[in-house]
């Protein structure tokens, strides 16, 4: 059986004819060619497949594509500028050596993006708890937590700066 669905990914609309059992991660990777989102377990534990669904981190391996029709999906490909310039979070990962093989990285980035958007005031300990929902086999996690924490404080500082300027 084939189903017609409409999916919005990184602001772009796609019409797809897919089997109902097709997962979101398969659609992203194989139908839309967005291979930045990775698959590490297909049973919802590793978080390599983490994307944002209406702004909230979600495991794309646990969702059927048909379930998220009408939602805004964001993947790692949306973070950098079209010319390749990395965003602040990506730069923090690089500066802190928060990635080695890079396989968990897209999932970690999307997890962090979703979380920081929700909790911009997060403490390092809270960030560590959130990072604990994804697996990384290379880094030992410390530098991932540090990268996200650094990005969060830089964003807060920038925001404060903006406030100061507008009230000055």
């Amino acid at each position: 059986m084939i189903q017609l669905i409409e999916l919005t990914v990184n602001g772009e609309r796609h019409d797809l004819a897919i089997e109902p059992r097709r997962t979101l991660v398969d659609v992203l990777r194989h139908d839309l060619g967005l291979t930045g989102t990775h698959v590490g377990c297909e049973h919802g534990i590793c978080g390599a497949c983490t994307v944002l669904v209406d702004g909230a981190p979600a495991r794309a391996c646990l969702l059927f594509a048909a379930q998220v029709e009408g939602a805004e999906i964001r993947t790692v490909e949306s973070l950098a500028e079209p010319d390749g310039t990395l965003n602040d979070l990506q730069r923090c990962f690089s500066e802190h050596h928060g990635l080695q093989c890079g396989f968990c990285t897209p999932g970690m980035l999307m997890l962090a993006e979703g979380y920081l958007a929700e909790e911009p005031e997060a403490t390092k300990e809270e960030i560590r708890e959130v990072v604990a929902s994804n697996l990384c086999r290379c880094t030992g996690y410390q530098t991932i937590v540090e990268a996200i924490d650094d990005c969060a404080s830089r964003r807060r500082a920038a925001f404060q700066d903006q406030l100061d300027r507008s009230t000055a």
Partner: protein, 787 residues
């Protein structure tokens, strides 16, 4: 173009780039989701493969019926062993039959299934969903045999045989050392301590599972195999042999790889079978291992049993070490290392950092009905270091001495040191690292917190070294049929004065695209972003041994350095000629050119002549700018070392273990990129902690795997892995080109010992000692309950 960075004050370095934590060349693509991992590769008309796998741990295969499979919509082909008729994979040691029994690993099992998950047939379909349906339609008839599921069962009198040719299920039985008179030493010693340890079976667990895309290319007349492997040339050799092609008819390419840790440094039968199917069908075939298979049917490691005795004098001098090591290697010998990999590593290296005058060891590899094993980060060293460090803790208790002080009295301090194991140790900082690690924990106040009556706190250490950069000579001592060791690099400068350099090593997280570029940049005096590292392609690389055993920077890094120096000489020769000067007066100017006195030529100007105005070249110098060099570590290789110090707190209510503090003092010689070295240490430590406290591959009595998903196989997260304070010491290696020693495995090696010692220190008031890993929480709970 990148600017040379600020020097980090605490580390020496030999140029502008080596020693600096520059931005990684790998990062932009990986962060943007633009890496190319094997599952990202899509070829026109590509088919998808999966395997029918044995459901029995040990059985005769009576029949394999794939007719229903072929009828499943979308299925294109299904092959059993009989259909493909491939040569098996046999790894050999050059040892007599009483020491080593060769066993073949068939690409697909035919008459006998030896573990649950063993591939029996390959199914190829138009999409990954259809292939799953196809696999389910296979009918395999088994006549079950009694499975052998532990080392003790394997060695038991009358045990069923996993391989008929291997009596007592023993594949390797080697006694490498036996100091004369050792029994008398034990008889007369003041104190003798014993350690009996069993370590759990572990999965190296790269987050990216194994996978391959294979296709026959008519234009190149080549079977092109894109596979996540740490050893592309070895895959080429085995694949060519199995399917009956010439080496040049096979091209193995390694895309970005999501970790390996050793699991991908042996040749996998699935990659051979998928390539054979592609060859047969003349269509691209992709196989991506699913997590269940990765947890149950991929190469595993680390299941070992030690019975060790050590003799000490009253003054705390170690006099002798006597060890019996049994490694449960599972169903097959891996290629190229064989089932000898773990017992031979343990046997050769166990005396480690200590001055041990007498040593006897027997190392055995037994075969069981479990998934086979491969080298895994550290290979046996996490285990034997743990055992030896337990020896020191126990001896300290028996002698009434402080355990760190006891180590101090016994570590090697004068180098080079010729060990009882016939190894010459090059200089290291064994004592210094021990002192600094202890001092650091003392300064941080952990020793006073340890005496808090209301808390159950323990402190543990491990002091160890790790041979890195095994050259051909060192590997030859293992007597493998194929002897890894050297590396070859070719360097080429293009018209713009930028260079590309090949390496036979294979970075998959270790950052060689950056670190090797730093080494080259310093040799030529150009920014590191004008150096491109080429790796992982058997058509572009002359020959390579890939990346394992912390060999890449020591050996591969030395080869790229040597090739760079040669190219530099070529540039100087041409420049001197063009400037009508003597070649000895020409020198690289450190800014992308050659200087003679106050005149200079840029590399681009020299390249312009070398390629576009060859008639201007000096006599005897051919056109083009390229050089080739190879490097091998002579002698016994170089030893990195470290001391780890760990503070744990035990929870009497649950038996839980929390790591309060982790300090690592490491010495890997000249650190090319300190941040990368620290990353390797932290990641390694996380894997060591995983083995000590969390992960274990378990089976029931029938040999059925009990941990087929991440629900059962507990991989530690950021909640369990602590931050690690790292301090660097630097004892440069005298014979690698950059003074570097290997840094890939040390973290993993030191962690289990330090963690286990800390747990036992916390239990000191209970009288209970725990020596097995992963440490059972119930045992802690019971010990604390009684106390």
């Amino acid at each position: 173009m990148a600017e040379p960075p600020q020097r980090s004050p605490h580390l020496r370095r030999d140029g502008a780039w080596v020693g600096a934590s520059v931005p990684r060349r790998e990062d932009p693509r990986l962060l943007a989701g633009r890496g190319r991992f094997v599952d990202d590769i899509v070829l026109p008309g590509m088919l998808h493969a999966q395997f029918v796998r044995s459901t029995e741990a040990h059985a005769e295969i009576l029949s394999v019926d794939l007719s229903e499979v072929r009828a499943v919509p979308g299925v294109v082909a299904a092959y059993s062993a009989a259909d493909l008729n491939l040569r098996g994979v046999t790894a050999l040691l050059d040892r007599p039959p009483h020491e080593f029994v060769p066993t073949a690993m068939p690409v697909l099992a035919h008459d006998r299934a030896r573990y649950v998950g063993e591939p029996v047939a390959i199914v190829v379909a138009r999409d990954p969903y259809a292939v799953e349906d196809g696999v389910e339609a296979a009918i395999v008839e088994y006549a079950p045999l009694q499975p052998v599921v532990s080392d003790t069962a394997a060695l038991a009198e009358g045990a069923p045989l996993v391989h008929a040719e291997a009596p007592r299920n023993t594949l390797v039985d080697v006694s490498l050392f036996a100091t004369e008179g050792i029994d008398a030493i034990f008889d007369e010693a003041h104190t003798v301590v014993e350690v009996h340890t069993k370590t759990g079976r572990q999965n190296a667990l790269p987050l990216e599972t194994r996978g391959v895309v294979a296709d026959w290319d008519d234009r190149d007349e080549q079977l092109r195999v894109q596979t996540c492997s740490q050893v592309p040339h070895q895959v080429r050799t085995v694949l060519a042999r199995c399917v009956g092609l010439d080496e040049k008819q096979v091209r193995v390419i390694v895309p970005d790889m999501g970790g390996g840790f050793g699991q991908k440094c042996v040749v996998g039968r699935e990659e051979i079978a998928a390539a054979a199917a592609a060859l047969r069908l003349r269509r691209p075939v992709k196989w991506i291992e699913d997590r269940r298979d990765a947890l149950t049917a991929a190469f595993l490691a680390r299941e070992q049993r030690y019975a060790v005795r050590a003799a000490f004098s009253a003054e705390g001098e170690i006099l002798a070490l006597d060890a019996d090591v049994v490694c449960d290697m599972g169903a097959y010998s891996c290629y190229p290392f064989t089932a000898g990999i773990e017992p031979l590593m343990a046997s050769a290296e166990m005396p480690g950092v200590y001055k041990i005058p007498a040593y006897r060891v027997r190392g055995r590899a037994v075969t069981t009905n479990k998934a086979p094993t491969a080298p895994y980060r550290g290979v046996s060293r996490p285990q034997y270091v743990m055992v030896v460090e337990r020896v020191f803790e126990k001896a300290a208790r028996a002698l009434g001495l402080d355990a760190v002080e006891l180590r101090r009295r016994n570590v090697i301090t004068v180098f080079p040191y010729k060990g009882v194991n016939d190894i010459t140790y090059d200089p290291g900082s064994y004592l210094e690292s021990l002192d600094l690690c202890e001092q650091t924990l003392r300064d941080e106040g952990w020793f006073s917190r340890r005496s808090d009556e209301n808390r159950v706190i323990g402190i543990g250490f491990s002091c160890f070294s790790e041979r890195t950069g095994y050259g051909s000579g060192a590997f030859a001592q293992r007597r493998m049929e194929v002897v890894p060791g050297f590396d070859i690099s070719e360097i080429r400068m293009d018209l713009n004065g930028t260079v590309s350099v090949t390496t036979g090593t294979l970075s998959h997280g270790q950052s060689h695209e950056t670190t090797m570029a730093q080494i080259v940049a310093d040799r030529l005096g150009i920014p590191y972003d004008r150096v491109k590292i080429v790796q992982g392609d058997t058509d572009r690389i002359t020959y390579g041994w890939g990346s394992f055993a912390s060999r890449s920077i020591t050996i591969g890094g030395s080869a790229v350095a040597a090739a760079s120096v040669k190219l530099g000489d070529q540039l100087r020769e041409i420049a001197a000629h063009l400037l009508e000067a003597d070649v000895d007066s020409a020198e690289l100017d450190g800014a992308g050119g050659v200087r003679v006195g106050d005149r200079s030529l840029s590399f681009a100007e020299i390249a312009d002549v070398a390629y576009l105005k060859a008639h201007l070249l000096p006599k005897g110098v051919g056109p083009g700018l390229s050089a080739t060099a190879s490097f091998d570590v002579g002698g016994d290789g170089t030893f990195s070392n470290a001391t780890h110090g760990v503070v744990v707190e035990l929870d009497p209510g649950t038996g839980g273990i929390e790591i309060l503090r982790y300090v690592c003092v490491e010495d890997c010689g000249v650190a090319i990129h300190p941040q990368v070295v620290e990353g390797q240490a932290r990641g390694g430590i996380a894997q060591g902690i995983a083995g000590a406290l969390f992960e274990q591959v378990t089976y029931d009595d029938a040999g059925q795997p009990l941990a087929p998903s991440f629900m059962e196989y507990k991989v530690p997260t950021a909640a369990e892995i602590p931050d690690v304070r790292i301090e660097h010491l630097e004892t440069p290696c005298a014979f690698t080109e950059s003074g570097a020693k290997g840094a890939g495995e040390g973290g993993t090696i030191g962690a289990p010992a330090a963690v286990l010692n800390a747990v036992n220190d916390a239990l000191r008031h209970t009288g209970v000692e725990l020596d097995d890993t992963p440490v059972p929480r119930e045992a802690i709970f019971r010990a604390l309950e009684k106390a």
